[in-house]
Structures are given as structure tokens and as C-alpha cells.
């Protein structure tokens, strides 16, 4: 049984999704989805533990066909780490889901939400675990199609137009990736990622076809990852989606897209080709820096807190891409640690907002005056998450920024290090705006203390926010795994 875990990781949520539809009832569907997400979390935890203990990747041959002809599921330190993040956050958000959904959609349609959620998780896990380039495309489309459906479930009609806009851009991105994979297949005759890497390296000199493949794959994943300026789908999608969907997608979808970008750039094309020959850093680093400043500045001027956090996500993606563009072990460690930390804090923040939506009915700043006193526990979590977003010491955000600054100095790029610190100040401004409204302005007249957010929602929020503090204090665990993953990707012996 244990040797089939890599396949079960994908198959269990995939099969549970149609069962959710058959169950119909909101309660049974939730219980099933909840147990499946937690089971997936346990499975990925076991995979990570085994990979770290063995020090070698686990290779699973689907249907018993040996790679490179058969499809391989390949778990190494990099994607086992990402699997743990995706499944853990899916499970925690799923725990919080029913209380928040109650208000956002009719109960008799909840089972559809759970089915789409499980399918989206299947796609994300599949993209992460597979060692086959074409599989990445298939799972990408599974997760994308279900995430469009999830976003369209939002309360207002603008959720529909946002989902449509995301669908158009997401399909363009997915098709670009498909084209890139086709070009790779054309140049090498292989679809297995490890095999592709070997073939491309034996050949040494890369031809035009491989160059075009890199360009299309980077472009396609950048759309899914929402790298500035390809982020225009993100703010609307995050703002108008149901609150739990935002918490789920913000923490998982873009993170997996980042993993796919890293996997292709480092694990298929190789550092030498992508950075030495194609100078990917010359494209990605400026875009990352612009994202950090422009998106943070735009976030400052938002009146809707959900939208503000969406723009902040674009900025934070900038940090992750910046880590990648250093093309060094430290930089990549920073990128991967930030992937982990940002997933924790953004899902915590968006879940806190889900509680605010549930009780106060809005996330608009005008409606949040004095909310800090009306919902102390929820807003307390929000403030902690916000501190982590800024990168205050003893929170997780500090750790990732520390590594990024180190990597910048290591590369002799001190202006970049200064810019990382300056852009953090912008985060101070937008987090402060919420704090100012929530704690220092009087609640509107006649406002009473709101009923405390339900425990089912409050507890997961605090678990996530607590985790950002935990991983900010005990930094060695995440950093050690991330550093190991980074060394593996850079081809340096661990």
C-alpha cells in the first residue's frame, strides 16, 4: 500500500469528487471532502518524511511502465515540500469552508463546491507530483477549469465576469505551455522531465527549437503565476470569489505555478541554459522588482481589503520570482521558503477576512471602522498575518526576506537588497491602513459588538497565523528543507 502513495495522492481526491456529487447533501459531501483532504495531507507528509530520510527521489511507474516511455510520478525534496504545503492548506481551509460558505451560496449547492474543490486539488497535486511534461499540462487544465468554476460561485455577478476573464487568460497560458512542451518533444523525442534534462545536457549546444520551448513555457507559467504584468486576472478573481476559495487559491494555485516554473527552468532546461545562455534573469528580475513596487503601491490605494490583499499577492509573487532570478542556492532557498510562508500567511489573512464577511457582511474599509474592537480575535489574527506580510522579525515573512536579501548581497546586487527593504515599507503602509481603520476609528454609531466568528472558522485561521509565527521563530525546519530542495535544483550535491 505504502509504495502506491504517490498515485493515491492524486487518485483519492479525483475519485472522491464524483462521489461528492452523488452524495448531494452538504453535510455528507463536506465530511467526505474533509477526510480526503486530511488523508492527502497525511500521505504527503509521509512522502516528505521518506524522501528526506532516503535522500533519493521516489519514482513511481504508473501502470508498471518504465520511464521514459511510461508516465513517472517522481517525488523529490522539492515537490514533496510543495505537496505538504498544498495538502495541508487545502485541509485547513476545507475545515473552515462550511461556516463561511453558508452565507455565500445556497446550501443545496454546497456539494458542487466540494466536488470542484477536490478536483482543483487533484490538478494541483498532479502538477506537482508528476515527472512527465505532458501530464503537467493535463493536470494544469484540471485545476484551472475547476478553479474557474470555484471563482464563479461568488456572491455577486462580477464573480462571473472575473471567472470568464481568468478563463480566457488561463487558457492562453495553458496553451502556451502545451506549445512549449510540443517544441521540447520535437527537439528531444521525450516527455519525461528527468530524461529531457539528460538529453538536453548531453547535446550541450541548444538549438532554436529548445530556445522557443523555454520562451513559451516561461510565458505560459508566468500567466498562471500572475507575474507582473501578466497578473490582470488575479485581483478580480480573488476579490469576487467566495472567501474560502480565495484563501484556497491564493495559497495553492499560484504556488504550484511557481513550482512548475522552477521545475521547468532548473529541472528540465538547466541553470546553464536558462540563465547562462538565455539570460532569463534579465527578464524576470526587473519584472519581479516592478511587481514588488507597483503592486504594493496599488494595494495601498484599495478601499476593499480583499482586493488590497490580492494586489499584495502580486507583489509577494514578485519576491518569489526574484528569488528564482538570482539563480543561486540562497536565492532559490529564499523563493521556496517564501512560497511556503506566503501560502501560510495569505490563507490565514483571507480566512480572517472570511470571518469578517460572515459577521460584518463586507470587507470594504468604510464598513470596517472599529472592527478591531467588535471582532477582537479575528482582527488579532489579521494583524499577526499582516506583520508577517511586512516581514517583521519573529514572523515567517522575515525569514524569506532575510534569505532574499542574503542572496542579493551574495550576488553583489546591493541595490536589489535595498529595494527589497524599501518595498517592505510599502507593505507597512497598506497593513497600517487596515489597522488604523480597524482599531483607531470609532465604530459607526449604534454598532454593537458582533457575535464572535464561529469556532470552525476562527480555529483554522489561528492555526495558519500561528504557523507563520511558529515558522518565524523555529526557522531551521523550513529553511533546511528549502535549502536542500534548492541545492537539488541547482545540481549542487546536498
Amino acid at each position: 500500500m505504502r509504495e502506491h502513495l504517490p498515485a493515491l495522492q492524486i487518485v483519492v481526491p479525483l475519485l472522491a469528487a464524483p462521489v461528492c456529487v452523488l452524495l448531494r447533501g452538504a453535510r455528507p459531501a463536506w465530511v467526505l471532502a474533509l477526510s480526503v483532504t486530511w488523508a492527502a495531507a497525511l500521505m504527503s507528509w509521509d512522502l516528505l518524511a521518506r524522501v528526506l530520510a532516503a535522500g533519493a527521489p521516489i519514482s513511481y511507474h504508473v501502470g508498471g511502465w518504465a520511464p521514459p516511455y511510461g508516465i513517472e510520478l517522481r517525488v523529490d525534496a522539492v515537490n514533496a515540500f510543495v505537496l505538504v504545503i498544498v495538502t495541508a492548506i487545502s485541509a485547513v481551509v476545507m475545515t473552515a469552508a462550511p461556516r463561511s460558505l453558508e452565507q455565500e451560496m445556497p446550501r443545496e449547492r454546497h456539494y458542487l463546491f466540494y466536488a470542484a474543490y477536490l478536483l482543483c486539488m487533484t490538478g494541483l497535486l498532479g502538477m506537482t507530483i508528476t515527472g512527465d511534461a505532458f501530464n503537467v499540462f493535463v493536470f494544469l487544465e484540471i485545476s484551472s477549469l475547476s478553479s474557474y468554476a470555484l471563482i464563479s460561485m461568488g456572491r455577486t455577478r462580477r464573480a462571473l465576469t472575473s471567472a470568464y476573464q481568468y478563463l480566457v487568460l488561463g487558457t492562453l497560458g495553458g496553451t502556451f505551455i502545451l506549445l512549449g512542451i510540443g517544441l521540447l518533444y520535437m527537439a528531444t523525442g521525450s516527455l519525461n522531465m528527468a530524461n529531457l534534462y539528460e538529453i538536453l545536457h548531453e547535446r550541450g549546444e541548444a538549438n532554436r527549437t529548445v530556445e522557443a520551448a523555454l520562451a513559451f513555457i516561461v510565458l505560459g507559467t508566468s500567466i498562471k503565476l500572475a507575474v507582473f504584468p501578466l497578473h490582470i486576472w488575479l485581483p478580480n478573481a480573488y476579490t469576487f470569489a467566495p472567501a474560502v476559495v480565495t484563501a484556497f487559491l491564493a495559497a495553492t494555485a499560484t504556488k504550484v505555478a511557481y513550482y512548475v516554473l522552477v521545475r521547468f527552468v532548473f529541472g528540465v532546461f538547466g541553470v546553464g541554459f536558462a540563465f547562462g545562455q538565455m539570460h532569463l534573469d534579465a527578464v524576470l528580475m526587473p519584472l519581479a522588482l516592478i511587481a514588488m513596487f507597483v503592486a504594493s503601491t496599488v494595494a495601498i490605494f484599495q478601499r476593499d481589503v480583499k482586493r488590497m490583499l490580492a494586489y499584495s499577492s502580486v507583489a509577494q509573487i514578485g519576491y518569489m520570482v526574484l528569488g528564482l532570478s538570482f539563480a543561486s542556492v540562497t536565492g532559490l532557498t529564499g523563493g521556496i521558503v517564501h512560497l511556503f510562508n506566503h501560502a501560510l500567511m495569505k490563507s490565514g489573512l483571507f480566512l480572517a477576512l472570511a470571518a469578517v464577511v460572515l459577521r460584518a457582511g463586507s470587507t470594504h474599509l468604510d464598513d470596517l471602522r472599529g472592527i478591531g474592537r467588535r471582532m477582537p480575535l479575528t482582527m488579532g489574527a489579521f494583524v499577526l498575518g499582516g506583520l508577517s506580510l511586512i516581514g517583521v522579525p519573529l514572523t515567517a515573512g522575515f525569514v524569506s526576506k532575510w534569505y532574499l536579501v542574503l542572496a542579493a548581497l551574495e550576488g553583489g546586487l546591493w541595490p536589489v537588497a535595498v529595494m527589497i527593504l524599501l518595498s517592505s515599507l510599502l507593505a507597512v503602509v497598506y497593513v497600517w491602513r487596515v489597522v488604523e481603520v480597524a482599531y483607531f476609528q470609532d465604530p459607526p454609531e449604534g454598532a454593537t459588538k458582533l457575535e464572535r466568528a464561529p469556532l470552525g472558522l476562527l480555529l483554522p485561521t489561528w492555526v495558519l497565523v500561528g504557523a507563520t509565527v511558529y515558522f518565524g521563530v523555529f526557522t531551521d525546519q523550513t529553511a533546511a528543507v528549502a535549502a536542500r530542495a534548492a541545492r537539488l535544483l541547482m545540481g549542487v550535491a546536498p
Binding site: E141, R157, L167, L172, G182
Partner: protein, 134 residues
């Protein structure tokens, strides 16, 4: 350029047409059509890649030595399914957008949203004014 690679020109023309339609057209159904044309160009790219000159379908039979590569063709079966699913989902969004807004033209939807935003702002201002007066 070389006539031997004419299929790439077809692919490029289809791809550019598709992207152009997606970008330039405000009608949401037309955008979906553009997406389809774009996807078809990639499907044609894969299918033409697998073709071996003089090769037949890859079914072992006497008298045939040269076979086309079936892998890209099989991959495209999956991609076609993905394309159909995307189109179905996109069109279902378009139907619901038509129900919610009464139009599927992007600029008209934007105008409706702007009007709604302005109304909300005016209401807010009126409320603030009332509060100040009260």
C-alpha cells in the same frame, strides 16, 4: 520560405488569428471562438509533428515499413478533450453573464459596472451627508 514546412505557416497564421480575435473582440462568444482557433493551431502543430513522410497509421500490418509517430496524436486526443471542456465552461459562463447583465459585450458590461459603482458612491456620499447633518 521552404515549401516543405508549409504546415508551420498554417499553424502561425491560425495562432495569430486566434490571439487577435481574443484580444480585439469585445463579444464574449467571439472571444471563445478565438480561443478555439488558437487551441486548434497548437493541435495542428502537434499532429503535423508526428507525421512521417510516406508513413501510414501506426498499425502493424504486412507490407508497411514506415509508420507515423502516434504519440503526438494521442496527446492531442487529451488536448482536444481539454479544449471541449474549456469551451463548454466558457459558454456556460457566457449564458450566465447574459442572464446577469443582459449583454455579452465587454464594454457594455463595463459601463453597467461603472454605473453601479457610481450609484454606490453617490449613496455613500448621501449617507455621509445625512450623518453630518444629523
Amino acid at each position: 520560405m521552404s515549401a516543405g514546412h508549409y504546415q508551420y505557416w498554417i499553424v502561425i497564421v491560425l495562432m495569430m488569428t486566434g490571439i487577435y480575435v481574443v484580444i480585439a473582440k469585445g463579444n464574449m462568444v467571439k472571444k471563445v471562438i478565438g480561443l478555439n482557433v488558437f487551441q486548434v493551431s497548437v493541435i495542428m502543430f502537434y499532429v503535423s509533428m508526428g507525421k512521417v513522410e510516406g508513413g501510414t497509421a501506426p498499425i502493424v500490418a504486412e507490407g508497411y515499413e514506415v509508420y507515423s509517430n502516434p504519440v503526438p496524436h494521442v496527446l492531442m486526443l487529451t488536448a482536444i478533450v481539454v479544449g471541449v471542456a474549456t469551451t463548454a465552461l466558457a459558454l456556460s459562463f457566457v449564458v450566465r453573464i447574459k442572464e446577469a447583465y443582459g449583454t455579452i459585450e465587454e464594454d457594455e458590461i463595463r459601463a453597467v459596472e461603472r454605473a453601479a459603482d457610481e450609484e454606490a458612491e453617490a449613496e455613500e456620499a448621501a449617507q455621509a451627508g445625512a450623518e453630518a447633518a444629523g
